[in-house]
């Protein structure tokens, strides 16, 4: 076995250890350790990506002496490596971009725990991306849940405490349903490994013996993970949590944590149940309808917000809707679009949150629309990043967001007549609404009607913030320009997925 | 089904319902403690002694202690409030 094949396992296990060390170091040292480790994981994941692209195959890495049904195993393919690289890089950039906020918002002697949580979160995200075993997924989902709640509450204020509590309770309800799904599935198949379950489920489905339990299980998985990833009717916790946390936390939560759960859902749908069962159980219809509703109503919610970060949080609800719409198209193109959207949103939304953090710096710590008027003049780099991000969200060509809309439209056109019409309407309305709330913000950012007290305030750039914003902008434009390679890699990855 | 198991299971459900009905917080925590003990007996009847030990130590022991500690802390804060109100009225 080549050395590069060990990298996924190393990233998972040693991210945990990195978190343990961060808990005993002082804030500055913990920051150093965490950033160095994240850089390393990004490089390692990237080399895994290159390796899988070169071989064009996926490989199974067994976690221990014993092969799969007995031991644990992880599965590494192009899609997994691509996600891992993107997530790790985005985590690094989000931390860099909001670094001074972290040190300002956390209590001094507890700052190191921020990096502990980030390392553990990263580990759990890697594990969720690579895992091939449902129970491993559950354990790491729990780490993900607790660590992400901790990220919200590390900025200590009354609002974040309440937001954390609500977030945690909703997440635990979701985990309960998810675990119940696993348990019932174990009861009727006796397996925990995804390919083995898939085999058994296919026989069960063919005989029709357990048709009701199967439906209920799919429902439990969908609802449980939809609650955790804030699909439309269950999104009420999201604006509070993402709106009140510190800049990096908001970026990480919106960009990565929600996606971790969706990746698990995609795995369950297409690796455990398979497209055929999902289509015949009519789940995709629910995902489609709620995805479309989320796209529209999330945008409406954002339109009504006068608080920049809460507006971005509502926009996340809408963007998660795009992913579910793609999944709901129950076709290969739809899933491709969903995966592309996961990547696009993972690199775009953190940029917007980091830029919003920058605006708060030059607006006396306020984030209402009035306070940030003209903030783009006072902080030009942040202004540039926000503009690029907003244009990408609207779906202007040459930016990353356009790729999603293109893929989604392609997927929609291929599906049945009714779905095509509905999906196209949803995409069109959502794009229009996106433009309606993002464009005024951009104008507001560069308007001359600045509030008197902040007028003439100039930002003194920190190297980390400047680097993060520039890197995000380049990443976004690069994604838009070289989208065919990324989409190609996603296609190749999905083909390895057994679609 | 043996009668023993039946009674234990029925007890679990009664505990669960009574917690959401009772108005006394201390009582509900004590009910929870009893619930955990019954659970650990049930693990034994299910031939899972590992779980019985863990449940007795973690569920009935540490978790219940944490609940008591929380309730105590809440009570202390409440007493503090009452004292402050009294002080305020004395000053007037």
């Amino acid at each position: 076995m080549e050395l590069v094949q060990n990298f996924p396992f190393i990233t998972i296990v040693f991210s945990l250890t990195c978190g343990v060390f961060c808990a005993v170091l002082k804030g500055k040292k913990a920051r150093g350790l965490c950033l160095v480790w994240l850089t390393l994981t990004t490089l390692m994941s990237f080399s895994v990506l290159l390796y899988t692209l070169k071989t064009g195959e996926y490989y199974i890495y067994r976690m221990g002496k014993w092969n799969a049904p007995w031991g644990n195993e992880i599965r590494v393919g192009v899609l997994e490596a691509l996600m891992a690289t993107a997530f790790s890089g985005v985590m690094l950039l989000s931390l860099l971009g909001g670094m001074h906020h972290i040190f300002a918002d956390c209590e001094p002697e507890k700052t190191n725990l921020y990096f502990t949580m980030c390392s553990l979160l990263m580990s759990s995200l890697f594990a969720l991306i690579y895992t091939n075993d449902l129970f491993t997924a559950y354990v790491f989902v729990e780490i993900n849940t607790i660590a992400s709640c901790a990220l919200v509450m590390l900025k200590s204020s009354a609002k974040t405490l309440v937001a954390t509590t609500r977030y945690l309770i909703m997440s635990l309800l979701g985990s309960g349903l998810f675990l119940l799904g696993i348990v019932i599935l174990y009861g009727i198949t006796g397996e925990l490994l995804m390919p083995s379950i898939a085999e058994k489920v296919r026989t069960i489905f063919a005989t029709g013996e357990y048709s009701l339990p199967l439906t209920v299980i799919i429902g439990l998985f969908s609802v449980g993970l939809a609650v955790k990833s804030a699909l439309f009717p269950f999104h009420s916790w999201l604006p509070d949590a993402h709106g009140s946390a510190t800049a990096s936390s908001s970026a990480i939560l919106s960009g990565l944590v929600l996606k971790g759960y969706i990746i698990v859902l995609i795995k369950i749908f297409y690796r455990v149940f398979g497209l055929e069962i999902i289509v015949s159980e009519q789940v995709s219809w629910f995902l489609f309808v709620f995805g479309a509703l989320a796209m529209i109503l999330g945008s409406v919610g954002a339109l009504r917000e006068r608080d920049l970060k809460r507006m971005l949080a509502y926009s996340s609800v809408a963007q998660v809707g795009y992913i579910y719409l793609g999944l709901g198209l129950h076709s290969e193109l739809g899933v491709t679009a969903a995966c592309v959207q996961i990547l696009v949103h993972a690199i775009t939304k953190p940029m917007l949150f980091i830029a919003a953090g920058g605006f708060m710096d030059v607006s006396g710590g306020h984030k209402s629309m009035d306070a940030i008027a003209g903030a783009g003049r006072r902080d030009p780099l942040g202004g540039l990043a926000f503009t690029v991000g907003a244009l990408s969200m609207i779906g202007i060509p040459f930016f990353a967001g356009f790729v999603t809309k293109l893929e989604l439209t392609a997927g929609a056109l291929e599906s049945g007549t009714v779905t095509t019409v509905m999906a196209l309407i949803a995409i069109a309305v959502s794009t229009l609404l996106n433009a309606l709330y993002y464009v005024p913000v951009i104008f507001n950012l560069f308007s001359a009607r600045e509030q008197a007290e902040y007028k003439g305030l100039r930002v003194r750039y920190r190297a980390d913030y400047a680097f993060a914003t520039v890197a995000f902008v380049l990443l976004n434009i690069g994604f838009g320009a070289f989208s065919e390679y990324v989409v190609g890699a996603v296609r190749q990855g999905l083909a390895l997925f057994g679609m | 089904m043996t009668l023993f198991e039946g009674i234990l299971l029925a007890f679990l459900i009664i505990c669960a319902i009574s917690v959401s009905v009772t108005r006394n917080l201390l009582a509900s925590i004590i009910i929870f403690m009893g619930f955990s003990l019954i659970m650990s007996v049930l693990w034994l009847t299910l031939e899972a002694p590992d779980l019985a030990i863990t449940e007795a130590a973690v569920g009935a022991g540490v978790t219940s202690l944490l609940f008591f500690a929380t309730l105590k802390k809440i009570h202390a804060i409440k007493a503090e409030d009452a004292k402050r109100e009294e002080d305020d009225s004395d000053e007037e």
Binding site: R166, L168 | L9, L12, A16, S20, L25, L46, P49, I77
Partner: protein, 127 residues
């Protein structure tokens, strides 16, 4: 309908577990008192674990601890659910501790355990 009830009666452990899960889930979702919510969470998890452990039980077999060197698999119950439940119990005690700590802080800040009132009060705060 009698057939339905009869099957429920055969699976009495699972039946009790599911009722527990339902009650716990509802308490966690709907009860307004934070402490009750946390107790509900523990009931929900216990229900799940009971269900899982019941799936591993086989009547008349022993716990999977091999004391006399007899490794015949048909003598012992299924060890997998036990292992999974062990993991689950630790997860639920962790989560309970976290939630209780949050409850302490919230009570200290807002002087109430009612989540609705807390949310209501928090809306009025500045960041």
């Amino acid at each position: 309908m009698p057939a339905f009830l009869e099957r429920l009666f055969t699976n009495y452990y699972e039946t009790a577990a599911m009722i527990l899960f339902g009650i716990g889930f509802t308490t966690l979702l709907m009860h307004r008192n934070l402490l009750k919510k946390i107790i509900g969470l523990n009931f929900m998890d216990s229900g799940l674990y009971l269900f899982l452990a019941a799936k591993g039980y086989i009547a008349g077999r022993l716990a999977p601890i091999i004391t006399d060197g007899n490794t015949d698999p048909s003598r012992y119950v299924n060890p997998i659910p036990t292992g999974l439940v062990l993991t689950g119990i630790v997860v639920s005690v962790s989560v309970t501790a976290f939630l209780l700590a949050l409850t302490c802080r919230l009570y200290d800040r807002f002087h109430t355990l009612d989540i609705d009132e807390i949310t209501h009060l928090a809306r009025k705060e500045r960041d």
